[in-house]
């Protein structure tokens, strides 16, 4: 072979020798010769492959590289095996240098791979000969260079605050992801960015992170949200649709600073096992490994003392078997079952099935992640189990300090103002007092005692505990004994023992779970669906009355006088005996709640709780101690305590009919005696004031005196005296009628139930929101008696929306509104909760309409009704109190007046007075700012003068020549068909659409063919029972049926009041009359279908 090659190899040898002599920089010297070797190879090739002379140098290099690769691999491969290949194929031979193999042999082999192999072997030999120091040095040299990153921690000196993000840093973007997949997504994004790094479109995000305390979110650091969405595009479990939100720069750092309150584990801590056989079991930490990842636990073992036959395979056994109960390890028991061989003894401990048992407990190491550290809440029972020793000789007391520690955290959260506490640690230990205030971890107590009497002391919540003394009556708030009450008999630190009122047994609980309570017995009389004194069905034959409720069971006295202990599930149903009656010994009827007396036997008295099958009566008398005062007797042996005046000699038939509940008039239960009923029928009526200063107000008649009535206004809770003639009855359907008509109508509707009748309507109409009813009726707005420019200004969007829609502040763009937002808060810090909530946004008023409190008033039209009373109560704001003006109008519309514009700080006018305009101001400011307010049609004024008496259309209104063309779309309601009955009144109140109607000859009844909306039935109805349906909603189309514009189709442009029929509403003419706005009394219109 060539000399050069030999030389190369020698050279290598030489290097090796040098290395052996311990020269430095071996690696560096080692490299060149290798490279040289490859070069030589190439030369070699060139010599051999003369026909490829024109090969470019680049290609050579490439091949060199290729060869290099192969060589590397060859270090680990026995290439000798390739010999046969070489023999087979001539070309290969050519490439590797043909006959060299045989000629040179051994060390002189020209195959570089072969040489590497040899070299490797040799180096191994050499290394074996080297001293350890040398090896170490070599290793250092070999890897020291590569791992040049000397750990410097150069950034550690910078204080964290200097690392705060600046505006030049990329932003953080919050991305919603599927909860539970946050970590996965962060990893995916990392991999994705690496994958796409050298592609045309690399990800441009800088980092992604996730915090366990922020589930469902990952944060991406990038310059723009586009880069973020590009990055997350296509990832499963990412919800870009839920928005990519920019994290404010000041919140960026806190995202990385979030720190879960570390639950430190120290020996003695109580923990619970998270999963496995011991899942949920309480355990005590014995020791902790250095890195804090594993803890040694001590807990009560669950050893299977009834193992099945060995035949079954383990898996099935595990799946099938329930886990054995907790039981302290007992050497004898275990060897009895498992055999002596399975248990070995090591010092004081036993080893069984790989676990160590000491003092009966199992001691086992767990990873912290397999433990529940928070909310362990060990119960006293569990803890006492730990203290109990197997032999029973060593009675070590529960280490209360440990329990205290465990329950301390919880204790903070259970403190309430008014609790009696004592300080048990710290410098004021021993002090006791009453909790005044709790803020986070600090409680302020007002000390009780000789020296400190009345002083306020601030203390960490953890160092106080509730204080009880023997004799206190307490109630258990939480835990398994919840709702138990009793008398404290002893207090040991924070364990309180009390004598239960119910079970008469001693119960020990932590003081933190107790409160002082006056109530006796189980706090609630309700267990499940059943309540004390319920009549319950126990089985087919047996019923009983619950006379005592216990924690989860009842004591029931059945009809035979037997007392039973019953679980809720044993009760099949509750019986209702409210309507049941029986006859007593004298033949009088006997009802529930009657006071009766036994005429025989013990002569017990009592109030009837239930009657069963008209035979048994369950009575209750507090004076009887037995069975909670409940006793059962036969109805026949009872006599009324209050003798009935006229003992009727009852014929059996009459008696029966009376006893038949089905024949009792409904509501008959009320009985005449019950109603202390108002003498005047009008008392209790819901009325509307139709004249005078209170016109438009709604209220309830509280009392009457001749022609005068005392009316409690729904608004402002005010009582006024007013002439009855100024009142109209407001029916629950929103219609009004003169008071005098009330009696008559009601009489019809409610049949014979005169007794209770008065009670009904007021309750019904007393809506929860008084403004809903009355708001629109205020003179300023809803009354519409004055030409209300606002009503017509529907051309201005602000008005349209504010008229009835929730946002009166739609005009938030108006200076007035902004102005008020600058003021410290004229609304006195959010009288409505919503208000203060929204104040978190920089400009709460910008979306003020979203606050429910506002909506409430606004939607009810309450803004129009800025009545004095209401202002005072709702807002308590002096600025609103000027009685003569329409409150909100002045606020919003005053906008352009300088005082309110408030854009300048000087004018920002924190005083509400700034808004308080004079009445005169009102008028001007209203029209001034919006020229568009000017009515579009002069015709508006026509209606101003028209009286607002309810309009009752004539019987044949539907056939009116102007209405008839539109009649097929009219929505009508059947009215007045009950009295006198027409078609049995069964169409009364139903709405229908007119299908057709034509006038018939004068002396015949006019009819119209209607299709009823609810069931589509079509039939003809006498027109005099057909009444128009009043338009009810905004944008509804309606036909004007009365007045000058009769026959015109209009669209309602204002949300009409639901009840007021004579209300003036803003409408827009459509069709031929064309886009004119005007006002129309509501009942002058008929709603149209479609």
């Amino acid at each position: 072979m060539s000399d050069a090659e030999d030389h190369g190899y020698d050279n290598y040898d030489q290097e090796d020798d040098e290395r052996r002599e311990g020269q430095e920089d071996v690696e560096q010297d080692d490299q060149p010769p290798r490279r040289k070797l490859y070069d030589e190879d190439d030369e070699d090739d060139e010599e051999d492959e003369e026909e490829e002379e024109e090969q470019s140098g680049r290609k050579e290099k490439k091949r060199a590289k290729h060869r290099h690769k192969r060589d590397r691999a060859a270090r680990f491969l026995d290439i000798e095996a390739e010999v046969s290949d070489e023999d087979d194929e001539e070309e290969d031979d050519e490439e590797y240098g043909n006959d060299g193999f045989i000629e040179t042999g051994g060390a002189e082999d020209d195959d570089s791979s072969r040489r590497h192999h040899a070299r490797l072997a040799r180096r191994q030999m050499e290394e074996e000969e080297k001293s350890p120091e040398q090896i170490a040095r070599d290793l250092n040299q070999r890897y020291g260079g590569r791992a040049a990153v000397r750990y410097t921690g150069d950034m550690n000196e910078i204080p964290q605050r200097l690392l705060m993000p600046s505006v030049h840093d990329a932003s953080l973007w919050q991305v919603r992801v599927k909860p539970g997949r946050e970590r996965e997504i962060v990893f995916s994004l990392m991999r994705k960015s690496l994958d796409l790094e050298y592609t045309a479109r690399p990800l441009q995000i800088l980092s992604v992170f996730q915090r366990d305390s922020l589930p469902g979110m990952v944060y991406v650091e990038a310059r723009s949200s586009q880069q973020v969405s590009q990055a997350i595009n296509g990832l499963v479990g990412v919800y870009p649709s839920r928005g990519i939100h920019l994290v404010p720069i000041e919140e960026m750092a806190s995202l990385l600073q979030i720190k879960k309150q570390d639950t430190t584990v120290t020996p003695g801590t109580w923990v619970r096992v998270r999963r496995g056989q011991y899942a949920g079991d309480l355990a005590q930490v014995v020791d902790i490994t250095e890195n804090g990842e594993e803890v040694g636990l001590k807990f009560i073992p669950r050893i299977d003392l009834t193992p099945r036959d060995d035949g079954g395979d383990k898996k099935r056994k595990k799946a099938a078997g329930m886990r054995p109960p907790q039981r302290l390890f007992n050497f004898e028991e275990v060897i009895k079952v498992h055999g002596r061989n399975h248990v070995s003894k090591r010092g004081p401990a036993y080893v069984f099935q790989g676990d160590t048992f000491k003092d009966g407990f199992i001691e086992k190491d767990f990873k912290i992640s397999a433990l529940i550290l928070e909310d362990v809440n060990p119960t006293l029972d569990e803890i006492t189990q730990f203290s109990r020793r197997q032999d029973g000789l060593e009675e070590s007391l529960v280490d209360l300090s440990i329990i205290a520690e465990a329950s301390r955290k919880a204790a903070i959260s259970v403190l309430q103002p008014g609790d009696h506490v004592e300080v048990f640690e710290g410098e004021s230990a021993g002090v006791h007092g009453v909790v005044e205030e709790i803020s986070q971890d600090v409680v302020t107590i007002s000390a009780v005692g000789v020296e400190l009497e009345g002083q306020k002391v601030e203390l960490p919540a953890r160092s106080v505990r509730k204080r009880f003394k023997p004799g206190d009556h307490v109630k258990v708030m939480t835990g398994k004994n919840a709702d138990e009450t009793g008398l404290v008999v002893s207090v040991t630190d924070n364990v309180v023992t009390f004598l239960s009122d119910m079970s008469m047994q001693e119960v020990s609980v932590f003081s933190k779970d107790l409160r002082e309570a006056a109530e006796v017995g189980s706090g609630t009389n309700v267990v499940g669906d059943y309540e004390l004194h319920d009549l319950v069905q126990l089985d087919l034959q047996t019923v009983g009355v619950i006379f005592k409720t216990e924690r989860d069971s009842f004591r029931v006295l059945d009809q035979n006088g037997q007392v039973r202990l019953v679980q809720p599930h044993q009760i099949s149903m509750r019986r209702d005996s409210n309507r049941a009656i029986a006859t007593d010994s004298e033949g009088h009827e006997l009802r529930v709640n009657d006071n009766m007396k036994e005429i025989d036997g013990e002569g017990r008295k009592g109030r009837v709780l239930h009657i069963h099958q008209s035979f048994y009566a369950f009575l209750h008398n507090r004076d009887i101690t037995e069975n909670g005062g409940v006793f059962v007797t036969r109805a026949r042996s009872l006599a009324s305590l209050a003798p009935k005046s006229s003992p009727l000699k009852l014929a059996p038939g009459a008696d029966l009919s009376k006893m038949n509940p089905a024949m009792q008039p409904q509501g008959g239960m009320v009985g005449s005696g019950m109603t202390r009923g108002p003498r005047d029928r009008h008392i209790g009526l819901s009325v509307l004031v139709i004249k005078g200063p209170h016109k438009g107000y709604q209220g309830i008649i509280k009392d009457t005196n001749g022609p005068m009535a005392r009316v409690e206004l729904n608004t402002g809770n005010k009582l006024i005296m007013i002439d009855k003639s100024k009142l109209y009855h407001k029916k629950s359907d929103g219609k009004t009628e003169p008071l005098d008509a009330v009696g008559f109508n009601r009489g019809h509707r409610q049949g014979g139930n005169a007794g209770g009748g008065n009670m009904g309507p007021p309750n019904g109409s007393r809506t929860s929101n008084p403004y809903a009813a009355s708001g629109g009726r205020t003179p300023g707005w809803g009354g519409g008696r004055t030409p209300n420019p606002y009503a017509n200004s529907s051309a201005t969007p602000a008005w349209n929306s504010s008229s009835r829609t929730p946002n009166p502040y739609a005009g938030s763009a108006t200076p007035a509104w902004n102005a008020s937002s600058r003021t410290p808060n004229p609304y006195a810090g959010g009288q409505t909760p919503a208000w203060s909530a929204s104040s978190r946004t920089p400009n709460p008023y910008s979306n003020g309409g979203a606050t429910p409190g506002r909506n409430h008033n606004a939607s009810s039209g309450g803004w129009g009704g800025a009545t004095p009373g209401r202002n005072a109560s709702a807002w308590g704001n002096d600025g609103w109190k000027s009685p003569e003006r329409s409150g909100w109008g002045s606020d919003v519309w005053n906008a352009p007046t300088p005082a309110a514009s408030a854009a300048t700080p000087a004018a920002s006018a924190p005083t509400p007075a700034a808004f308080a305009p004079t009445p005169s101001n009102y008028a001007y400011s209203m029209s001034a700012p919006t020229p568009g307010v000017v009515p579009n049609t002069p015709g508006v004024m026509d209606y101003e003068d028209s009286s607002r008496d309810p309009y009752d259309p004539p019987d044949d209104w539907i056939l009116d020549e102007k209405i008839a063309p539109h009649q097929t779309k009219l929505r009508v309601v059947i009215s007045g068909s009950i009295m006198p009955p027409y078609l049995e009144g069964k169409y009364e109140g139903r709405t229908a659409v007119v299908v057709g109607a034509t006038r018939v000859r004068e002396n015949y009844e006019q009819t119209a063919f209607l299709r009823f909306e609810d069931d589509g039935e079509e039939r003809s109805i006498l027109t005099r029972y057909i009444k128009p349906v009043l338009p009810r909603s905004q944008d509804e189309t309606a036909l004007v049926i009365y007045g000058r514009r009769r026959g015109e189709v209009a669209r309602i442009r204002q949300k009409p009041d639901s009840q007021e029929t004579t209300e003036m509403v803003v409408v827009e003419s459509i069709g031929s009359a064309g886009a004119a706005y005007w006002e129309c009394q509501k009942d002058h219109m008929c709603a149209m279908a479609g």
């Binding site: 921690g153 690392l163 970590r183 990392m190 800088l206 915090r211 250095e290 992640s369």
Partner: protein, 118 residues
């Protein structure tokens, strides 16, 4: 340079107590910690890996561009290799490492966020 990106589902994920890098314990054993190997000497030493890395970490950061990332600067990992980092790692490096850091005049900042107060 980029560290090995472990599988996110791996159960053996551990975070380096010094730099917070997340790798599997095997990767730590075979390759060491690419940032701190020089001082921690994790390679081929399972014990060392156990004591200098922790499974008790929280919050995962994908450090894609450490040099320019504020997150990484905040975490003081700007100069480190690209890879997955933990926001918090519970525990402290062994005492010998702490001593060594002290000798070199390096302030040790445990990664449990306890020294963020400055």
């Amino acid at each position: 340079m980029t560290a090995v990106i472990p599988a996110s589902k791996s159960r053996q994920l551990r975070a380096c107590l010094l730099c917070g890098l997340i790798q599997t314990s095997n990767d730590f054993r075979f390759n060491g910690c690419p940032n701190c190997e020089e001082i921690l000497q994790l390679k081929d030493s399972a014990d060392r890996v156990m004591s200098c890395t922790s499974t008790y970490f929280e919050g995962v950061i994908a450090g894609i561009d450490p040099e320019n990332s504020w997150v990484q600067r905040w975490q003081r990992t700007s100069k480190y290799v690209r890879g997955m980092y933990a926001v918090r790692v519970r525990g402290r490096v062994p005492e010998d490492v702490e001593t060594e850091l002290e000798n070199r005049g390096i302030k040790y900042r445990p990664r449990d966020l306890s020294s963020d107060q400055d």
